[in-house]
């Protein structure tokens, strides 16, 4: 058991679509589980990372909690991977980058249609929003990038197989060709 490759995964400002795509490995998950053990991940519900070989990060960085989680992963994972469009570019959540945060918050909590008891949530337990949504490589060092929205199960399979078998990961054109 102890020889298994340890993998952690998380979703920051993402939609869990990349995780769903990962689950599309279907029966290959059984094969994967023979060589891989999952650490912190929505799959295991483990809340914090211990030492891992590979960290897979879905989603961009939109708030202070995302920064802390990302740093925990960086600290504990030998190889950190940006998974999917949001982690790589900010993706859909980054559409708010064109609107000042002040206006976003005002629209959502103060002036928007149907807002009752208008107030900006203020509680030490709530993470604060960053002024913009950032790609994760602008906050910590990232080793590999898996493109796609989401990356297909085959992309995960090819990438992890390469890493696990000690090859330099490479994705053939068919796997990253979208139109």
């Amino acid at each position: 058991m102890t020889n298994k490759i340890r993998v952690a995964t998380t979703s920051l400002a993402g939609c869990f679509g990349c995780h769903m795509s990962f689950l599309d490995l279907d029966e290959r998950l059984v094969q994967l589980a023979e060589v891989v053990e999952f650490d912190r991940s929505p799959i295991t519900d483990i809340k914090h990372c211990t030492n891992c070989d590979i960290g897979l990060i879905e989603g961009g960085v939109c708030n202070s909690e995302n920064v802390h989680v990302l740093r925990e992963f960086r600290k504990n994972c030998k190889i950190l991977v940006a998974v999917g469009a949001c982690a790589i570019n900010g993706g859909l959540p980054a559409l708010r980058n064109f609107i000042p945060l002040e206006e976003c918050l005002a629209e959502a909590y103060l002036d928007g249609i149907g807002v009752e008891n208008p107030q900006i949530p203020s509680d030490p337990e709530l993470p604060l929003l960053l002024d913009k949504v950032y790609p994760i490589h602008e906050v910590v060092k990232i080793d590999y990038f898996l493109p796609g929205c989401p990356p297909s199960a085959d992309v995960f399979w090819k990438f992890l197989s390469d890493l696990i078998e000690g090859r330099d990961p490479s994705l053939p054109y068919e796997l990253v060709h979208y139109d």
């Binding site: 202070s64 920064v67 740093r71 960086r74 600290k75 000042p100 945060l101 002040e102 918050l105 900006i120 949530p121 203020s122 030490p124 337990e125 709530l126 993470p127 604060l128 929003l129 960053l130 002024d131 913009k132 950032y134 602008e138 906050v139 910590v140 060092k141």
Partner: protein, 607 residues
Amino acid sequence: MRRFIQDLAEENHNQATHLLQILRAIQTRYHYVPMDAIEQLAGLLHIPRTQIISVVEFYSFFHLNPRGQYELLISDSITDHMLGKINLTGYLAKQLNVAVGAVREDGVVSLDNTSCTGMCDQGPAGLVNGYPLTRLDQPRIDRIADLINQQRPLNEWPRELFQVNDNLIKSGLLLGHTIAPGEALEATFKRGFQQTLAEINQSGLRGRGGAGYTTGLKWHLCYEGPEEDAFCDIATQKRQPRYVICNADEGEPGTFKDRVLLNSFAHQVFEGMTVCAAIIDATHGFLYLRGEYLFLYDKLQTILGERRQAGLLGNNILGQGFDFDIEIRLGAGAYICGEESALIESLEGKMGIPRNRPPYPVTQGYLGKPTVVNNVETFLAAAGIAVYGSDWFASVGTEKSKGTKILSISGDCSQPGIYEYLFGTTIQAILNDCGAADVLGVQVGGPSGTFISSQELNRKLAFEDLATGGSFIIFNNTRNILDAVHNFTHFFAHESCGFCTPCRVGTSLLKKQLDKIVEGHGSAGDVVALEELCQLVKNHSHCGLGQTAANPILTTLERYPEIYQSQLKKISYEPGFDLDGALETARRMANRNDAGAHLAQTAEDHE
């Protein structure tokens, strides 16, 4: 306004190809291009309003929102920076009480930066409503601020503020042997067109814009026209219109030779165009003059008038039954329009986006017709060769670079200005002539060219070694080379036309990544990432702009890796932006200041 727009469109024959000229007139009159004007123009020119909006947004000198009645632009070339531009701009902003990039509340004045205005030998320079201001210093800025605050019209401003000097310091083969108006045409008619083309070919003349395509071959290919025409009879081929375009969109920072050639040698340039027209059988020519050289426009029109009077232009030139005329079109602040196919798009009244090549302009250029596009200096040289013959030109220079090159020398030297050199001259010899001492390096060919260090001063000016369109910027040892790289990289990000992703996104990423390193937030992996990005932008961009945009970084990274390394932090990684600062808005709105409302800049700091 309706009347004005209608008259303007009529003056331009309601031709969409004249869109830039029409928009220039509107911008000049209203200090912006109002939406109403766009709606009306769309109807008059029979083009979609969105097409007009895209053109307005594309060119730096057009605006959808009002600029000041006095629109001040300060040149942002590295040479202006070396002459104290930053402090002067700050001083000017203070005197006028306007922020850089903004319009003053009363709408009287706006202030902004603009790409190199081609006054590098007499900077810091600027433009007021399109006219150049040179040798800016505090006293001049005080005067300018007073004139603006008193709202004195430009024609009452002292002339010396607008004084532009040639600073022609060293003449050689071309500038020392200029021709009399008509001389080249007479020689061409006497010798015969095919014979004159043979002379141009034998002279070995190559394009002077930087790329160095053989001029004689270009003219020959244009004369032949597209392949499919070869099967037509001669009469059909003859009916095919052809065009001659002189590229005076001299936008490469540090280049200003074309300004001097057009100011003092315009007859010879026009004559070179006319000789070309005679050879390729064109009846129409354009001088595409960069918008920054508006001050030359009236003078050049006068010269064209003189040439028509003298029978050197117009119908039946020199009684030989050959018709040709030249039209001057102004650009509107877009570096990319120096690329020949983007220039042609611009002449057609569109955004200056480079075309796919092939087909090349020689077969499908302006309006899809065979077109020769040559640099100002190329036409000047061609006229000289038509008079003095190919040997005169080919007997000097190197094997693959015949003749001479006219350089625009600026930066750290005692005598900046125009110098003409034989190809094959060493950089050291040039530096000696212009009084450059304690040299750190030279940027040859502008930002898109090469940076050479003081170890390489025996290299030669030639297509075989250091090719250049004419820009030659000298840096001495007091300069930080990263300042220049920073300036050039920002320049490309600003000037990218936005058509292809590797260049549009890539130049912005280059700018961001370089800034991160220059500002001291970089670590070892960041230089590697920068280099990878450079290769991507260089290898995948659509045109020369993107393909050369990484040159400032690549050429300096190769020569001075230690300068980049010394900027790096000894930590694994640090974000390039202020992480805690990015929480400021949310902190303020949520009224929080607890420990959880802050972030350390790096994970290492945190521990």
